[in-house]
Symmetry: C2
């Protein structure tokens, strides 16, 4: 009986576990710091109060309960002993025959970790509800204040980082102030909120085609979002953001600017790239250790394209399943195969974010706790208003635009 240890209950880890579930000659232990799987593509909707945490977070042990050969442990893995094949967690040590690392990424502040307090990132439920609190509190503070200058400051929202998360957040705040909140206040007009999306590079959505990026920028501007490219942030404090000589006073600052792989990767001694992802072989194993695999955002896979595969849910999901199938093949005496990513295209939902949130809520409810129907699609919301998608009845309403990442 081979023991497979999976570290991380995201898209990669969970899907690896499902393939191994109830199979003969193998038992599985999945370890995660948290007790829930998170449908991260919709996390910004929780931050914008359009979804509840429970709509995108499902207990891992509930998802895997039907697989009697899988044990779920909530614990934090702190080291891997490659020679003795042991995973060391805070409260227990596990021996493995196969190890799948799928620990994901977290935000990085590029050496300015003190900025985190003033500009939270968006990777966990706690961060999402904190962002929600800050944005709503800013509207409340503006309503209370009689002074136009203070109101202007409270109603200025700065989002740092023009990738998909930053674009989604900016679009969602734009929708919230233009639609959701319009009738709720007496002393302020929420439509006057200033939403400023700051990107250090020359354009937003660098992993999308230029055409898509231009379209998204135009759509954001229609929602009152100011897009500033080539604007590296040089300082952040409790009151605002510094961009070179310019000072932006803000009611809330949100961080969506960069990620770094989980630190566990460095302890493996394997090669890592600039953001700490582990460079993997064609079968997703690491050098000299065919029994150790890395999947999802934590892996740097450079065998099929000029640039590494992007950190998207479909990549993680396919890698998790692929590793599990290779392990089953090997146990059955067959050879391993190399991984190929099947790019089904990224979904760019052309719809007002408010409508999309309704849609999203329905879609999740329709698909249920396993989320399997949807987890193969990465939802990138460009917050455009030229929508073909209005009533909320589920998946059928979507058209997939062929915007593959570079």
């Amino acid at each position: 009986m081979k023991h497979v240890v999976i570290v991380g209950g995201g898209f990669a880890g969970l899907n690896a576990a499902k393939v191994l579930g109830n199979r003969k000659n193998v038992r599985v232990t999945l370890v995660d710091r948290l007790n829930h799987h998170l449908f991260q593509p919709l996390l910004y909707q929780v931050a914008m109060a359009a979804l509840s945490p429970a709509e995108i977070a499902v207990p891992i042990r509930h998802i895997l309960a039907k697989y009697r050969n899988i044990t779920v442990l909530q614990d934090e893995v702190i080291d891997v002993d490659r020679e003795r094949r042991r995973v060391v967690a805070t409260e227990c040590t596990l021996h493995y025959d196969y190890l799948i690392l799928a620990c994901g990424v977290k935000h990085t502040y590029f050496g300015h970790e003190e900025w985190e307090e003033y500009a939270p990132g968006l990777k966990t439920i706690e961060q999402a509800t904190e962002i929600r609190r800050r944005v709503l509190t800013a509207f409340e503070a503006a309503e209370r204040s009689g002074e136009p200058a203070r109101q202007r400051r409270h109603l200025t929202f700065v989002i740092v980082g023009g990738g998909p998360t930053g674009v989604e957040l900016a679009g969602a705040i734009g929708e919230m102030s233009h639609h959701t909140l319009t009738r709720d206040f007496r002393n302020i007009n929420p439509r006057l909120a200033r939403i400023i999306l700051i990107e250090a590079g020359p354009r937003i959505l660098p992993s999308f085609s230029e055409k898509m990026a231009v379209k998204a920028a135009t759509d954001l501007e229609k929602l009152g979002v100011q897009v500033r490219t080539s604007s590296p942030v040089t300082g952040i404090d409790s009151e605002g953001v510094q961009i070179g000589p310019e000072r932006l006073e803000a009611g809330a600052i949100l961080w969506a600017a960069g990620v770094q792989a989980a630190p566990l990767g460095k302890k493996l001694g394997a090669e890592t790239d600039a953001i700490g992802r582990i460079v993997v072989a064609a079968d997703l194993s690491i050098k000299n250790h065919p029994e150790i695999f890395v999947a999802g955002d934590q892996a740097c896979f450079i065998h099929s394209r000029p640039s590494p595969l992007p950190g998207l849910a479909p990549v993680a999901l396919q890698q998790g399943r692929f590793i599990a199938r290779n392990i089953l093949a090997e146990i059955a005496g067959r050879n391993r195969r190399p991984f190929h990513y099947l790019d089904k295209g990224q979904l760019a939902a052309s719809a007002a974010a408010r409508r999309s949130s309704n849609w999203a809520a329905c879609a999740l409810r329709v698909s249920g706790p396993g989320l399997s129907g949807w987890s193969s699609i990465s939802i990138i919301l460009s917050a455009s208003k030229t929508n073909s998608l209005s009533p909320c009845t589920g998946p059928g309403h979507f058209s997939v635009s062929g915007a593959a990442p570079d």
Copy 2:
């Protein structure tokens, strides 16, 4: 144009505001520390992960958005200047012609405020999610631990206080361990969880009839809940509870033992009772200040019964509406009338708590954000298993048992 200031957006404050909404010759400002109204009778369901916070918390300004004469402010009221008729909040001062105080109650630890850290109460969303975290974490810790003695400690849940909240919590943990979690663990049997409900007085549910209390105790014991009466707690720390010479090691300790009225009442200089509630006249105003009213849990109303009206949602709701109608009558030149509580009976839902949670979720969804259809019913869940209520289709399934509080 008379200005009515309402402090508190609970059942009393919110219903007073609704009656005054869009009426001539009156404008209203409702002030609350928080931005949401809370459907408190179901808060324990959030603590037990059966409901999401958003299912029982609705933004106050959203509920009142359609009343153009009502302004909602999120701020904390710290004083009342009765002579100059001013309410002093942290960030603003409001002049009033009429003042309605409806600030509710909070938990009290009877002089042992240091116990709060180890045994959180259940009055806010934050407390509910913290209790949820502690209970689920205890099951996780037990699953990780190999030692039977530690497992036993982790799986011991102590609830202090045998009123409705304590009974509901104990019943819900019993249901959770007997039903919801049974298949999810591998190293522990959640059914073996020890749930201990501790009451200082001679019986649980002192505000209910003796017959009801005996029935509830029997039902709780069927769910594996040990009920201990006449057991005053003498100490609480991070590891457990002391009851005289006896020590109970526990994985989570929950507090449901006593309440105290909001401190603002004492600043009015009016007569207060033992738990700080303001003694009100027959029209719910305070002595020498007919323009100041108190409603809901914060009021001590002793005109109709030997004991004060209990702190229940229907009492608060009726008082809030009553005060608003009296104010409108007075503005129109008519006389005030005295308050009479119409006791519609307390709802004792005879159903397994797990089923009830489904019901509750449905019922709330059916009734929508205003919750008006349900807010007139106080839901007391006796966690009995002799249910006549199985499928989840809404309000029609309920029978109201005539258990009026003493």
